[in-house]
Amino acid sequence: MELLVASAIGVMTAGGVYLVLRLRTFPVILGISLLTYAVNVFLFASGRLTVGAPPILRDDITAYADPLPQALVLTAIVISFGMTAVVVMIGLGAFLGSDDDHVDEQPEPETTEGET
């Protein structure tokens, strides 16, 4: 189980990093979202993995999953929505304003090769 979660975090991070390094806004936004998942799961996993013991207090149960990382990640998820929305808006505004969705500053208009 630990291996599965850890490798999922690794795969999502790798995918996120790769997409963030792309040249157009949309894949970069997708990359940021993917990184967000990875980070949230990573933070969540800092409470270690517990199956079948949600932190809802019951009279006859004493073992629970760690509630604190869950609370922190919950707000992180909501905030990351806000952040994604702002980034999308900025990317969209830039595209509508210049008809260009490159992430990098384009030195000359005719340059299509993104190497800088």
């Binding site: 979660v5 999922a8 997409l19 707000t75 806000g82 929305a85």
Partner: protein, 959 residues
Amino acid sequence: MSLFFIVALPFLGALLPGIMNSAGRAACAGVTFTVSLAAFVGLLTNLPAVLAGEVVTARVEWMPELGLNFTLMLDGLGFFFAFLILGIGLLIITYGRHYLSRDDHMGEFFTYLLLFQGAMVGIVLSDNILLLLVFWELTSLSSFLLIGYWKHLPEGRQGARMALTVTGMGGLAMIGGMLILGQIAGSYDLSVILQNREAIQADPLYVPALILILLGCFTKSAQFPFHFWLPHAMAAPTPVSAYLHSATMVKAGIFLMARMWPVLSGTPEWFVIVTTAGLITMVLGSVIALFKHDLKALLAFSTVSHLGLITMLLGTGTTFGAFAAVFHILNHATFKAALFMSAGIVDHEAKTRDIRQLGGLRTLMPVTFTIATLAALSMAGIPFLNGFLSKEMMLEETTHTVLFGVWWLVPALATFGSLMSAAYCFRFIGHTFLGPVRDDYPAKPHDPNAGMWMPPALLVVLVVVIGVAPFLVQDFVILVAKAVIGGTADLEVKYIKIWHGLVPALYMSVAAVVGGLLVVAIFKPLLKIWDAAPRPEAKVIFEAIVETAAAAARGFTHSLHNGAFTRYAMIGFVAIVAAGYHAWATGTVGAATRDLQEAGAVPIAGWAMLVASTVGLVFLHRNRFLALILIGIVGLMVSIGFVFLSAPDLAMTQFTVEVVTIILLLLALNFLPKQTPVESTALRRIRDAGVAIAGGLATFALAYHYLLRDAVSTPISEFHLANSYKGGGGTNVVNVILVDFRGFDTYGEIIVLGIAALLIYALTETLLNGPVRRRLLNRLPDQPRAGDMHPMMMVVLTRVIMPVVLMVGFYIFLRGHNEPGGGFIAGLVVSIAVVMQYMASGFSWAAARIRYPYHGIIGAGVLIAGLTGIGSWFVGKPFLTSDFTYVRIPPFNEFELATAALFDLGVFQAVVGAVMLSLESFSRLAHRPNTPESDHPMDIDPSRDEAPPVVPGLEKEGG
């Protein structure tokens, strides 16, 4: 009057001239004068106490932990300077009112002047060196505004910048020096520091502190090698020059040296640095002044020279030197302010200050001539004028001062400096006022009105009175000198004499005056030599240095910050991985303490889907719709993972956020290209993949390692689990943490969320009000439109389901404290219900039915949450302390009422408002207000294509 008022009055009064500006020039100058006069009178009310030898203090604790207190003190020295600042300030205000032309914004001028005045008074009355530093910086800033007052003149702007750069850098050095001094003395209070002479001078950090503080003083008082800024500051209006350069700004450095005299002076380091700098400045300034043709430049360099003289006197470290310095400060302030104002009058009336175009003004401007001549003769050191007395004392002091082991060095240089000083004074008089009347003045000169000549005349009266009857000010000067010396030594001077007998100083004086006359007589040939001689131009050097520094900074910044986001991201990722690797390689890793848990078939299947969709996303991301579906699958798998790993709240949040995020991205994709073109080279892709794989491996390794190890110490979650029900009254610990234990954190989060939504709204507004609007209106859809904009089934379904969804949201909200749910999740669920209406029935239909603006909902949410928190104050508890009780209303079961629920209501509203405002803003980009749009379902467009290609997600563009 309390010292606080004396300092505060100019600052408070600074508001008035701006307000009174439209009331006319007289009113504007009048309020400024009144404010200054009030402060001046307030100062005078403290005169009896000061004369009695008391030290008036006022103290308010500001930040005692930092040693920063608002403490003021008024002793002889402080009184002396405050008197000069406010007294000459009054004269300057009167003069300035007549000097400024109708085109100048008078309110602005007097506001700056009062700010500056307040800062200066603050410096001289501060008893805390940190407070003093604050005022010190304020003088730099306000003098910047004053010097650059004529914004249309490039010289004014350049001069102001140069003054700010030089004095600002000096101020920075001085902050360091003062902090060291405070550390040594163990207190930042001046009164304490002044008692610790031995401890400070014995400290190994004494020399660094001394040098840093002197840097501040020398830059402010324009001592060599920082003397160059002062003449360039002459681009300011003359009242500013007269004020800054006679009594205030440049005297601040002198004041501080005098203030610190008891603790810093008397050491060889002090003697050599201060005396040498003063001597060089005095000689250099007087030589340059002689050859300046601009009256104000001449006076500026003469100020530099006289400041050098005072600095040198303070540098000698003897009590007689300190006494002479104080006396010369007084005398210099009187004659120099009068001279500046006279130069201003000449400039004002003759429309030129170039000495080569002047001459013969004696008969045309007799009043100005008398004032200027008396003041200049005093500066030259002619007997029966006050300048003679202090200059004589200075020469006397130099005969006892031996620098570098050469007995004649200081007296000879001082005599030479006096000689040049006398020469430029004679030139000032001779070349401006004497000689034949010319017929080529730019304007016809005549004496100005009394408002302009009265202030300098008043000062010249003082010049003569002090010169003839020095005993009138003798006691006061002795009092001030004693304040400078402090308790360290006795002052042996008892009175000021005009006639000392045939002492060396007298011969030196005579030599200076005679030599000065000779120099003026042979001025023309001297000027030729001077003009032919090469000499460095300070402004060019200064600008070269600034340009070099700016170019270096630009080169450094631009090489890192070149507009390539991918490059920053790449550097960031590599740096993070490298830092992590370093920590990993140098740290130790403990043995695993937890066992691997078995994973059944279902988790493996979920994992496989997540990995497959992530990999697919990376390879297929160029097809943007497909990428959106794939990332949706990733999010879904993450939510299911949360369910499986005992985090139902997270799963619900992730799931609902997933929905709104995908809708958001679809709305954006409506405008963006649907494909990502291939641009990067294969090499680049391999490089990026390398970085990505390194990052992925790093997070995998880190996560895997800590998942197999227990926390080093007991997590605080134990506390939360134990107290959730007892203290918070809820069994859903996650929700109790959110609304109770860490409520303040949550409060911050909803505010951030609200700000993000408002930011999106603001950006949308900007886009819609800019050139983008036209482009949006003329834009043709790049995808085929659905003929059936509002499909009947969807409209009916969403409208029917709406109450049900709202009910579910309400339920989730209410049970949140004890079961999975709560404000965040309920907010998201309700948002989805509303978004569905937009999607199914169109923007116009839904927007027409929204009763409250979304901003208001966000605001109400934050307000409710905040007020709930404040409510606990009324029962004497800290912010956001919660309380709860159980009530039973038949026929319902017993249920819980908690203030936390009210807080959660705020969270709920903020989330609904923020989500809806974001999504609505995106939709508004596509909305065309002027196109008729049907409200009704089944509005089939007959002009549609025969067989529109079905693209997933397209039907969400309804509107």
